[in-house]
């Protein structure tokens, strides 16, 4: 039995080894690919879109992506995958990570093995501090939430109720919103943290009705929760009673807006990326993305992957084909990019991303519900962990 | 008269409005060979279950060897020397014959909590188990799993299991149920040959066996003790004959 198992594993090793050659630039991509999570595919398509626009050869090295499935926020799985990618597949750079725990586990491998790592999503504040060879091409929840709180306060809403998913990112966004909103003179009418297995929002909606609030801020990024909450909000007629709904942009990803009806039009959200962003870079990106993904709409996760590739190419080019961990991080922390999401730079101290946060309104555009940007907060830093 | 071993005072068990056992006060002396008889539904098995602790009593007391066991759980009663067998064979199908007798011996010796000592080194207990199996003539089957044993042998194993606890009182609920009458006599020979230090209270429908092996008989009717006496007293009592024997209590 042991013997046959070994043949099985060896076979797998052979199969993956055949594809790569010694001078290839290998990326170890750890993300959820199986089950109901789409993030792995979004990252993969973001990388493919980058290849389409910029080729899959950089400084003479062919770029190879080795994908590994980490479907849940399980750090043991991520650490094992990262370790195998580094020691066995000899990848030059680690990448991916939808979830914070997997990013942390792989970050330890990156630190121990001195392998550079590029985080494409994992949006908890302050996780870069412990991992010196790591940079983040995504965002933090606090970064995207705080400007929304300021915008809400500025636009006449004085009383707001917050409802967030009861897990670390949800609590990050609740804290960021409340801090900024109260600082700007607003009053909180209540807050609810919703268990992650919640599907029926009727009771929470009734509670919001009771609070006689002027507005609601929501952060419920799981697709079912986002959809059900928005539907329940509209069904209860809260919008008709003048209650404004504002959400963190993760709640209005394309796969969620596709499940909404016209009565969702008008929801205000904030994020660093909309597929509708008006720029040359974005138009090229969207077109490339659609062509490699079977006409899908890019998401903020695919933009994270796209920009991470951009950062990787720039670092490899600057080092003439090499990817030294210290030098690469040095390059990244001083880098400025023109991304599909807009101008991007990095905080030289924390290495964390600095970017524009856009306030958007959900509208029907070319027949599709789209987040249309109408106001910009320039060069927002992450202030989640102060 | 030997000293009293078991005594019940006004023991009752109600299932809803039904009084299955009603105000039963009996005493059983050490070394007894008692039979418990009565028509179907008289409450015999209920009484035995209450004595062994499988059922809790609604009211009344059970004193065993001077200790109040009225509300003691089953395994405590076994530890005090009050063991039983079951009317419907109830064994451990996946263990071997010897293992389950040894198991009962381990428990009696208080070794059941030993969780790191290899039991195959506990030869004394296994030898005692073998002796018990020889006693009930199961020595040749000791290493077979119980699941495949013929029914008659399972009945014998029931008794060996009961004995393994080295009880001072063994309650036998129809030990010969379901086996041919030729074999049931043999079975009772085995029971009768048990040491005098073990008192026995058995339920049995076959009156020949009852009169042959019991020194004293308790007749239960509608949950109450109808009469108690020696076989000849019982056989000579007209009302018992009419109510119980006359109905042809064999089934």
């Amino acid at each position: 039995m042991q013997a046959s198992f070994r043949t099985v594993v060896c076979l797998a090793a052979v199969l993956t080894a055949v594809a790569a050659r010694a001078d290839d630039l290998k990326i170890g991509l750890i993300a959820p690919f199986s089950g109901s999570e789409t993030a792995g595919l979004e990252m993969d398509n973001g990388i493919k879109a980058f290849f389409k626009l910029h080729g899959d050869v950089v400084a003479g090295r062919k770029v190879i992506v080795i994908s590994r499935d980490a479907p849940t926020p399980a750090p043991d799985v991520a650490r094992r995958l990262a370790q195998e990618l580094v020691t066995r597949d000899k990848v030059d750079v680690l990448a991916g990570h939808l979830f914070t725990p997997t990013a942390i586990a792989a970050g330890q491998v990156s630190t121990q093995s001195k392998t550079p790592m590029l985080i494409m999503n994992a949006a908890t504040s302050g996780i870069l501090a412990k991992f010196p060879y790591t940079a983040r091409a995504s965002f933090t929840v606090a970064q995207t939430t705080a400007p929304l709180a300021r915008w809400v306060a500025k636009n006449g809403m004085k009383r707001v109720f917050t409802i967030v998913a009861d897990y670390a990112p949800g609590i990050d966004s609740e804290n960021a919103f409340q801090r900024e909103f109260v600082e700007a003179g607003g009053t909180m009418t209540g807050s609810i943290r919703v268990p992650l297995d919640t599907i029926d929002f009727a009771s929470y909606i009734r509670r919001i009705q009771d609070s006689e609030t002027g507005g609601v801020f929501a952060f419920l990024p799981a697709p079912d929760q986002a959809k059900n909450f928005i539907k329940a909000f509209r069904d209860a007629g809260l919008d008709k009673k003048g209650v404004k709904l504002v959400v963190e942009g993760g709640m209005l990803q394309p796969q969620i807006t596709a499940t909404l009806d016209d009565d969702a039009i008008g929801i205000i959200s904030s994020q660093h990326y909309s597929e509708d962003h008006q720029s040359q870079e974005n138009m090229a990106f969207v077109e490339a993305y659609k062509s490699v993904s079977g006409n899908r709409i890019p998401t903020y996760i695919s933009v994270g992957a796209f920009d991470a590739m951009n950062m990787l190419y720039k670092a490899v080019e600057a080092q003439a084909g090499k990817l030294d961990p210290v030098k690469s991080v040095e390059i990244w922390r001083n880098m400025k990019l023109e991304s599909p999401r807009g101008p991007v730079s990095f905080d030289p101290q924390t290495r964390d991303i600095v970017q524009n946060i856009y306030i958007r309104r959900l509208e029907r555009k070319n027949g599709i519900l789209t987040n249309v940007e109408f106001e910009t907060y320039d060069a927002v830093k992450d202030n989640g962990k102060q | 008269m030997s000293p009293t071993l078991l005594e019940t005072k006004r023991l009752s068990k109600c299932f809803g409005v039904l009084r299955a056992v009603d105000d039963v006060s009996i005493t059983i002396p050490e070394g007894a060979r008692y039979a418990l008889i009565g028509p179907n539904g008289a409450g015999k098995t209920t009484l035995v279950s209450m004595l062994s602790g499988a059922l809790s009593s609604t009211s009344g007391d059970i004193t065993f060897a001077g200790v109040d066991l009225t509300s003691a759980p089953m395994h405590i009663r076994v530890r005090h020397g009050l063991a039983r067998t079951y009317q419907i064979t109830s064994l451990f199908p996946r263990l071997t014959v010897r293992e389950q007798v040894a198991l009962a011996v381990f428990e009696r010796d208080g070794m059941g909590w030993k969780w790191l000592a290899p039991r195959n080194r506990m030869t004394a207990q296994y030898e005692e188990a073998s002796c018990l199996l020889d006693l009930v003539k199961l020595g040749a089957d000791a290493d077979l799993p119980v699941g495949g044993l013929p029914y008659g042998k399972q009945r014998l194993l029931e008794i060996a299991l009961g004995l393994a606890a080295r009880p001072r009182l063994l309650l036998l609920d129809e030990p010969a149920a379901g086996i041919p009458s030729t074999q049931s006599a043999e079975l009772f020979e085995v029971i009768d040959a048990l040491p005098a230090s073990t008192a026995i209270l058995f339920i049995e429908h076959d009156m020949d066996l009852v009169f042959r092996f019991a020194k004293k008989i308790i007749v239960l009717m509608n949950g109450q003790v109808f009469m108690e006496g020696t076989p000849s007293e019982i056989a000579g009592n007209a009302s018992v004959r009419q109510i119980y024997l006359g109905e042809g209590g064999h089934d």
């Binding site: 268990p195 009727a202 009806d261 | -």
Partner: protein, 286 residues
Amino acid sequence: MQFIGVLLDGIAYASLLFIISAGLSITMGLMQFANLAHGAFAMVGGYACVYGMNALGIPYLAMLPLAFLIAGVFGLVLELALYRRLYEASHLTQVLFTVGVLNVSAASAVFLFGAGSQPIHLPPYLQGQISFLDANISTFRLFTVVLVVAMAVVLASIVQLTRFGAQLRCAVDNRRAAIGMGINVDRLMTIAFTFGSALAGLGGALGVQLLGLDPSFAFKYLVYFLLVVVVGGAGSFVGPLLAALIVGILDTASRYYAPETGSFTLYLLMVALLVMFPNGLYGRAR
């Protein structure tokens, strides 16, 4: 007057739980078969409904009976091909098999319909809210309750009034006796399994709106379905109905009156009920 609204919301939630779990209760009661993959049949119904509406343009109300039928056919085929061979196997083997079915169904859903959550666009007459006894309740929830109550009445009539129902009750009570009386329990099981799957399919189609639908649906809600059946007592309809009502109403009410307790209320209640009623509210000792 939020109280009545909360109550009605809870009943709507309970209706969905009940309609999906009812079939599971029968298979568990009749054959002691632990079908962990029961939710997969709800998924079949859900995907059929979404696909029929979005790709083929079939109206919602027509899709509901179709989802019922399609899930039933799935159940029938799987019962005849696979499930029935394992009725005599140990519970643990059944667990292995049904977990395998769960995995296959999840991967198949990704393959056929993609990974994400499925959209559903209800007809306008089922959207919005209506006032009912001074309380606001969404039209769709009321529709769900009415439909499930109707289904429950049909179920109860079948179980209480028909020959099939009498045989079914007899077989759940005592399978050996039923076989002795000449009842074809295998055939009974096939019918019950098919019908249970069909009900789950209907529940899945109804549930796309309230529960959502994605490839991990069957695994995600497995705990709820089991909870309803085990707390209610396998083998009956009344038990799961009662359990679904308790779970639905209490869960909804605790989220309204004490949102900070989160999902603690539900699971504490489950543990407490099972410690008090180990065989379920309407179960019998086995």
